[in-house]
Amino acid sequence: MTPPAHDLGTMPAPGALSRSNGGAFALPSLRPSAVTLARWSRAATPMAFLAPFIILVGVFTYWPLIDLVYLSFVRMNPFGPDAFVAMDNYAGVISNTQFRDAAVNSLIYIFGSIPLKVVLPLAVAVFIWTMSARLGNVYRSVLFVPTLLSFVVVAIIWIWMLNPVMGLLQTVISPFGLRLPNLLSNRETAIHVIIFVSSWKVIGFNVLLYLAGLSAIGKDYIEAMRLDGANDWTIFRKLIVPLLSPTIFFVAISTVVFTIQQVFTPIDIMTGGGPLNATTNIFYIVYQYLFESFNVGYSAAGTVLIFLFLGFLVAIKIAVLEKRVHYH
């Protein structure tokens, strides 16, 4: 006697899980009534199906989070019990100039990415949307290709392209008597090169997200606005942007949350965090604490701080999604 599948509630919006599935949270009463027993025995099959997945999530996602908090409060000792050091690791990390540089850079990565990862793809998507289907499809596919390449390959391509001696860019500009500076060894420019490279990789993907949103806009609205004498810019500003606002918000918040994780690979391959910490970020620094300074406590404390920061971002995301970024 399984309840009908369509009664089981629809898919909750990301982050909206607290509202739905209401009944399923209720625990059975302690008195083992016949009903309770029946419910538990009915749970045997689904529990067996779920067990492998849930155990793995527990062991490799939730347990590590708890362990991480523990590790952030101790100094590991390979020959004896770990020493409790209270907030020492946190104090150490916060006063560490490398970590401060990394935190500032992370904000540069986040805000510096918005024009290329959020705004440019919006413009590109609108242009593709207004093109002939054939040409639009060609562009859509070409722009999508970097999504399928690994970041290792992408980073090496751009190291080579931007090489001041033999890179493609130097070859292109040398007939004009121009010399390409070494952008990756310059403290001012290196971080922007990495922002550019990581944008190059995701533009096509974000364009796809926008195109999915655009496909829902009816042409009646556009025609109505045309009859009122609206020009392209007005239609974009007054109709397309408001109707796309949920997608724009989604792309923006994903950019904010993912950029600092995503740039790990280009940082590691293109600059190693340098020159002079100019390109390092918080994820890269906690990696280096572990594998270069062998400091487990710092690595753990730094990661907990990142976790709190990301949690804060996700809370904003949920709060805004609950409010619904919508025009209706």
Partner: protein, 274 residues
């Protein structure tokens, strides 16, 4: 459909053409260079004048790319297969049954989706060294087997199936595994195919995790291998490096050429949910 005025149309064409050029030109150059003999690499035309396979032979003979590729292929196949099996089982349990704790467990799965590897790598790394898994295939596969996104996507598809589908099979006295295997799975084929491709690309291109848990040729994957060539060559010997980059990029691009539409759709639905 919006029809743009002439100036905007021209701006759009110029913008898209230049963007596409920044993508196509470097990629073509990589492929061309991989077929160049050493004397043509720094001089002359973008394309090879006397194309050669020597670089491709070199990456296998001198740089032992084969062993890295083998590690990548084997661990990707095993991991994706495991991810699919576990996700199908879990999604089916969530979609078909009503049981105590379902909401809580589903919330745990959703929550796990938001926690990237880079937050948990330290404790898992310590765990793996303690278990003696460091630098093994196991370290690459097991910690990544549970894929919450896959559960979410499959569950949603299962919820859209009509209830009669299951009921007819139940009445015939089929066991749940039987129903899953012979009734549900055939209906899930399209989404499973698309999901396989996404999981494959995700695993094949991974850099961070193999960087953390591998150290030697016993487990190093192709991406790490390419990275090693870069360090070893220091840009002196571009030909073999470009050949290696072409080889490791080929599988994902080839699959894309054949299943373009499905891939784009799946990436979008995965992206929208992630």
């Amino acid at each position: 459909m919006l029809v743009l005025s002439r100036p905007w149309r021209i701006i759009g064409q110029v913008l898209l053409f230049s963007l596409a050029a920044t993508i196509v030109a470097p990629l073509l150059l990589v492929v061309f260079t991989s077929f160049k003999p050493p004397n043509e690499i720094y001089a002359g035309l973008p394309w090879p004048q006397s194309p050669t396979f020597q670089n491709y032979i070199d990456v296998f003979e001198k740089l032992s790319l084969a062993i890295y590729l083998w590690n990548s292929i084997a661990t990707t196949v095993l991991r994706v297969a495991g991810q699919l099996v576990l996700a199908v089982l879990a999604a089916y349990a969530f979609a078909r049954f009503q049981f105590p704790g379902r909401g809580l467990l589903f919330a745990l799965v959703l929550g796990a989706m938001m926690i990237p590897h880079q937050l948990t790598f330290l404790p898992i790394y310590l765990m793996i060294t303690k278990l003696g898994w460091f630098d093994t295939w196991t370290a690459l596969i097991v910690p990544n087997l549970a894929m919450p996104l896959a559960v979410l996507l499959l569950r949603q598809h299962l919820l859209s199936f009509p209830r009669e589908l299951y009921d007819a099979a139940s009445m015939d006295g089929a066991s749940e595994l039987r129903i899953l295997w012979s009734v549900v799975l055939p209906n899930l084929k399209p989404i499973l195919a698309a999901l396989t491709i996404v999981l494959f690309v995700d695993c094949w291109n991974e850099y961070f995790w193999p960087l953390v848990v591998t150290e030697t040729e016993a487990a190093m994957t192709a991406q790490i291998g390419v990275r090693r060539f870069l360090n070893a060559e220091q840009g002196d010997d571009l030909g073999p490096l470009m050949a290696a980059m072409t080889i490791v990029s080929l599988p994902a691009l080839a699959v894309f050429l054949f299943f373009q539409r499905q891939i784009i759709q799946t990436f979008v639905s995965v992206g929208v949910k992630g």
